[in-house]
Symmetry: D2
Subunit: 329 residues, 4 copies
Amino acid sequence: MKPVISLMPRMAVASAFVLAAITVTVKPVSQSVSQSWQPPADAQRCPSKWGPEDQRGSANHMKPEAVLRATKLIRTGEVIEIGHTLNSQMPFFGTRRFDVHTKRTFMNPQSNRRGSNEELVVSEIGQVGTQFDGFAHQTIGDSMYNCFKVSESATRNGFEKLGVEKVGALFTRGALIDVAGLKGVKILPDNYEITARDIEQALERQNMKLEKGDAVIIHTGWGELWAKDNDRYARGCPGIGVGAAEWLVARDPMLVGADNISVEVNPNPDPKVSLPIHQIMLVVNGIHLLENLKLDELAAKRVYEFAFIMQPLKIQGGTGSTVAPIAVR
Amino acid sequence: MKPVISLMPRMAVASAFVLAAITVTVKPVSQSVSQSWQPPADAQRCPSKWGPEDQRGSANHMKPEAVLRATKLIRTGEVIEIGHTLNSQMPFFGTRRFDVHTKRTFMNPQSNRRGSNEELVVSEIGQVGTQFDGFAHQTIGDSMYNCFKVSESATRNGFEKLGVEKVGALFTRGALIDVAGLKGVKILPDNYEITARDIEQALERQNMKLEKGDAVIIHTGWGELWAKDNDRYARGCPGIGVGAAEWLVARDPMLVGADNISVEVNPNPDPKVSLPIHQIMLVVNGIHLLENLKLDELAAKRVYEFAFIMQPLKIQGGTGSTVAPIAVR
Amino acid sequence: MKPVISLMPRMAVASAFVLAAITVTVKPVSQSVSQSWQPPADAQRCPSKWGPEDQRGSANHMKPEAVLRATKLIRTGEVIEIGHTLNSQMPFFGTRRFDVHTKRTFMNPQSNRRGSNEELVVSEIGQVGTQFDGFAHQTIGDSMYNCFKVSESATRNGFEKLGVEKVGALFTRGALIDVAGLKGVKILPDNYEITARDIEQALERQNMKLEKGDAVIIHTGWGELWAKDNDRYARGCPGIGVGAAEWLVARDPMLVGADNISVEVNPNPDPKVSLPIHQIMLVVNGIHLLENLKLDELAAKRVYEFAFIMQPLKIQGGTGSTVAPIAVR
Amino acid sequence: MKPVISLMPRMAVASAFVLAAITVTVKPVSQSVSQSWQPPADAQRCPSKWGPEDQRGSANHMKPEAVLRATKLIRTGEVIEIGHTLNSQMPFFGTRRFDVHTKRTFMNPQSNRRGSNEELVVSEIGQVGTQFDGFAHQTIGDSMYNCFKVSESATRNGFEKLGVEKVGALFTRGALIDVAGLKGVKILPDNYEITARDIEQALERQNMKLEKGDAVIIHTGWGELWAKDNDRYARGCPGIGVGAAEWLVARDPMLVGADNISVEVNPNPDPKVSLPIHQIMLVVNGIHLLENLKLDELAAKRVYEFAFIMQPLKIQGGTGSTVAPIAVR
């Protein structure tokens, strides 16, 4: 790993983005005074509101009504891909890989000269590219969503509980919240914490409301850096903070996604906690996350409401899945 | 590899399926007289009807009209998953693998005790489980769809032409052709060749017609063996023959799928050719294939017409993708 | 995994091997009366006799004197390979793999038409084939050799303590103990427990003594099954029991090896314990193990004393290494 | 890949190394006049001097006499390791990997609480670290050593001819040629071409001669950069040129090794050819290469003559093997 030095002229960015910069400046002050976010004890958060045996959390919103609600939004038949292409030029978190090894062509001996090609893929396939986080991905100590324990569920070849294969296809109303648009910038500043107020204002600007069971998609503009400035893309990002996360949890979505590496602001302004929104969403509230979305087209076309469709791979016992979701309108 | 000896009492099956058994018996005789199927020369099949530079073939049917046509079939919002779960208990073709290695839990040092789990997957991920065949998967000699050459396109890390990332999500009318239902059996006999006449009769029985751009899905019942009798599942299957394939090509579908390992009858009744329908579909006509579908629920519920939605992974230069498609009605 | 049913006519084997059969019969009785072997507490076994910081255990015997002692045994220059070839036809323990993927030939563009071939290997390379066990391979609870803790030493990419890279090449006197020869059989019976008395008698028969720092190699004949009857080879084996292990520990060897999958009798006659000799050797006494040796040639030629040379791969933080050791005389 | 810009003050190096610098300057001129090195036609180089079926080439020197000749050099029993540790901090050629994934600890259920650790290794294991090149590694067009053809021998899982498993352990006289020492520098300049004259002078300075069947080891000093300046280490190196290679071929060695990434000067001063010494040695003359040796200790101690011992992994059909060779004196 190379030493990480930000080359971004932050003041230049800030000058074009005064309001946000002020927020960024003010926030750490208030947090240094207040206490760090603390994960709730098991007894406070379990059983889940979906029942003590539940392993699907927010995916339980996936019902015929959600599908019908989304289908009504399909008017032109236009499909917009919101997943990135999988290749070795993607930014990767840490040492994750996506290695494709094209096999030697196998030529069958029969008269029709049929050759066969396949590839071996070696990858943390659940956690690369545009990726959907299952509940086995994150813990509070030894405890996961609905207080299933890592020590009791993890095997060398997957998790016996909370595997991503339990989710199934998701088809619901998608709601794009264009925070970069609200702020009038193409890309939110590095490490900008999106607040509940930002989300409220963005929705107001878009003249829309969130509904229970929505796929909530947040546009930060960070995706502009994908495969162009991977070092910057992967070392942090603007995203939602604890306040925005709690505001979203109260709206009871099917999932929360964004065009950045962690949905949430990264690193968190409070240096004492590590990606707390991952715990708030996946562990505490059983709400799935969707990372590294490709949102440029949706944002440019101002497609704020659409049918969101996503098919996670049914990796038994998997912690997540790389995905190729679509928005249809 | 163990020696493969069929333990199936073939006569018992045949007695419950007399008409088909006769077909099976008669067919090889006529073929031993006639000539083997021959792949057409490059000049006869190129350029593709989609243009000399085309790399998408039947996926070009994927247009707003196809989406709208399919959307009209969504009436109840019911989603039926037609992909299998990915695990090590799946049947595999040859030496292909699907190995999931759950990593050791990484515990972050901060106060919120956030643990992180991921898995390394080592797999011919484009060609395991319910799988979608891209055009780089199959050749006639050195030549692929639209006469792109393996020797000019293949790199160690993917194909420069015809990669599966060029396909995109497919959303169109799905049409289930229940051949097992037509024959009144749960599972078609081993190596039964489905004929054009079978398909016509099945459609007639279901009182429906194929339309241009359909996802044509053939129910053979073979999927009943999945993860139950993998040796039998993988060593061959009932499926469409050359005649049925040519009949289907004339209907101009978006893809042809089935609940078996090769869509086509396997091995082909003509021992001189190896999986000729793979060449007819993928190489000659640029029509995608979809294998190892899970069709029990669709067939049991007699869902013959539905919105078919599938999101292949965008593996750059990939030969195919494992998928988790759905039928929605 | 298929159900494991022994098809071997044990009585037929026993009739050709009366003494041993009696031992086999008597042993469990005495053990059912006595207590199961218990691993000693940390305080009883730590620090190691090699010092509290030692990570090399019996490899500390590897000194110039050991090399010179062994060199004196080289008289004809004959080299006998005692490692098996690595391929997919090897017997594997559990789900371990040895997958070789030959890459597509890369042709360099220059005038000399230089093509390059390599292969990707995906394997538990430290624990397949003829394999050398490092100390990170085995534990008593959370504790390893010299009471280094798994929880403190294991990372996702190796162990910070006890990695096999710390061993280095081993070059010492090798001593073959031909127990199969002693018993007059080609292969010891399945699950036969080799006793201290067996070893003493075998050495007496060979007219030799063990010396401190020897590579002690035990011939069971089990290697005859390698790549011929892998199911039987891998589901258990004859080998040393607790008594023989303790007798060997007292001789202070550099390592103990055998032509079977676990050196020790497997499963142990006492069903309450799992591979106790692995703990006795690797964890309690810091003595390395060497498994799946190819000893047919050594035994046939009665090469009982030789220069043993082995070069474990220097896998940083590794638990072991596949090896290709030699005997030289 | 980052742009490669040499930061080395070449003139400073040259000033301490005038003679060599002149050679470097003069060489390209003469080469631009003369013709590029051309690989000989198959008919000119086949059959090999070792016979038309031979697959071992220079490894045929491995006979009892070679072992006895080397054994006589073992006088103190000192073992010097000349292989590097395998880890992710090594320099890699191109996209090669050495990824170690420590598995989750498996705790057996029995009373002795035996835990088991292993790791999955994903690597071009034949071609990383200190590595031994087999004959399947390199070609002239489709043709390999002794005119075995890639197209006839390569399978997806190894080569049917020339696999590295055919080599076996090598135990012979090792001869260190300290060219860096001759030139009075710690590291030869980047891309310095070692000439036949350099080798002759170095041997003269060391007062020694090469013998048939030697393991010839060349010290360039380049190994000083290993894991310290990987970019520079991997993008080229000083090493032998065509003239030195042909001089060495005439001495009929068992192998030629060096402390750099390609044994030979890289890139070759003649830009029209790509690593011609790889073809001269491996393809034309059947002489094995040994790369990335760790020679600092040998050179510092002036150990010019020693018993060289190396045990390539017996990877069936493999193109090479990572190794952990030793020098013993």
